[in-house]
Symmetry: C2
Subunit: 208 residues, 2 copies
């Protein structure tokens, strides 16, 4: 397809597409004439991935580039590419590593993940984010055991399995990563919103 | 207790406590001598609530004040006070109201909440956040029906009920609100982190 159709199909304005091409976020089309190139479904999908990262994930261009490169590089295993996307999407965590309470929470989280046999990269930012939440609970005088995480971990486990099943078999590598990234940014936003709505609803019912 | 013990019990440094007192975020203690006041459990709990809002929720002082005032004002129903906390904690949403796709998504979310019989304030920010996620899915060429939200809404519903049951009966009004706010900010962070960890783990397993 021509670049104008690519713009129509993806909903991304023409000047933005040209900018992404110049920045190398979008691979060049197949040259069909000195001043004309042809684009395909892969370009449509790539543009969608970039949009999800920019508009929903609020990533800057440098982070978008990192995710897109990992998604495009066949040598990077899919799980690792998804980890890279998570790292780029991480917006949390004031640095509290020096704090001995935080070090304790980090080590508790490591034990917890080991007990659940979850295999994640040692530098996964969600690991630190989870330790930060656990540390905050302790600072706030709430139950200190990692067991309080169980109901949430069970739910997270079921959700991740459900979402992976929703990715059709035989989906291409880049589509799989696109699914995972969109799942992370969009469904995470939806889940957080729904949880707050449910919390408001049920507390109104209980305390009216 | 003296202000020094209040500082020790709450983990909040003395100068910060004095600042909160001056700013009216913490109610004054009972005067026991011209230059001495006595503080109680209510002050410990209030300081924990402020800490949760500042350190985990990343709220500014003006927003902390709004939440704390709603928590303290007996005339505000609990469900409403929790709604006010949610509004203050809302960090999302670039404004897209003018967009006709977004207007459609908002109206779909309203229908969806009505079908589920969830009663939430019409100006709940999570409503907009959910519509934003739905709109993003549609822009990304993903299934457009609100039914895609069902598994997430079921989970949110179960979580909210579980968390409310975890609030002991006979808990005071301000404690209940404190529980809800801590639940929102801390367990939300934990849930999001666990979901990413589970996603990374299961995608590594499936695609190795």
């Amino acid at each position: 397809m021509r670049i104008s159709e690519l713009s129509r199909r993806s909903g991304v304005p023409l000047p933005t597409i040209k900018y992404y091409l110049r920045e190398g976020l979008l691979p060049p089309g197949r040259q069909t004439a000195p001043n004309q190139a042809s684009y395909d479904e892969q370009h449509v999908r790539r543009l969608r991935l970039i949009r999800a990262l920019v508009e929903v994930g609020r990533l800057g261009l440098a982070d978008v580039r990192r995710v897109v490169q990992a998604a495009a590089d066949e040598a990077v295993p899919i799980g690792r590419a998804i980890g890279i996307a998570h790292r780029a999407l991480d917006t949390s965590t004031p640095d509290r590593a020096a704090d001995s309470d935080m070090a304790q929470a980090l080590s508790d989280v490591d034990d917890y993940l080991r007990n659940r046999r979850w295999q994640v990269a040692p530098d996964a930012p969600a690991r630190r984010a989870l330790a930060g939440a656990l540390d905050a609970l302790r600072q706030l005088g709430r139950p200190a055991s990692v067991d309080v995480l169980d109901p949430y971990a069970d739910i997270a486990d079921r959700l991740a399995k459900f979402e992976l099943r929703a990715t059709p078999d035989g989906t291409s590598r880049s589509e799989t990563i696109e699914f995972a990234v969109i799942g992370t940014v969009v469904f995470e936003a939806a889940l957080v919103a729904l949880r707050r709505l449910a919390q408001e609803h049920h507390s109104r019912r209980r305390f009216r």
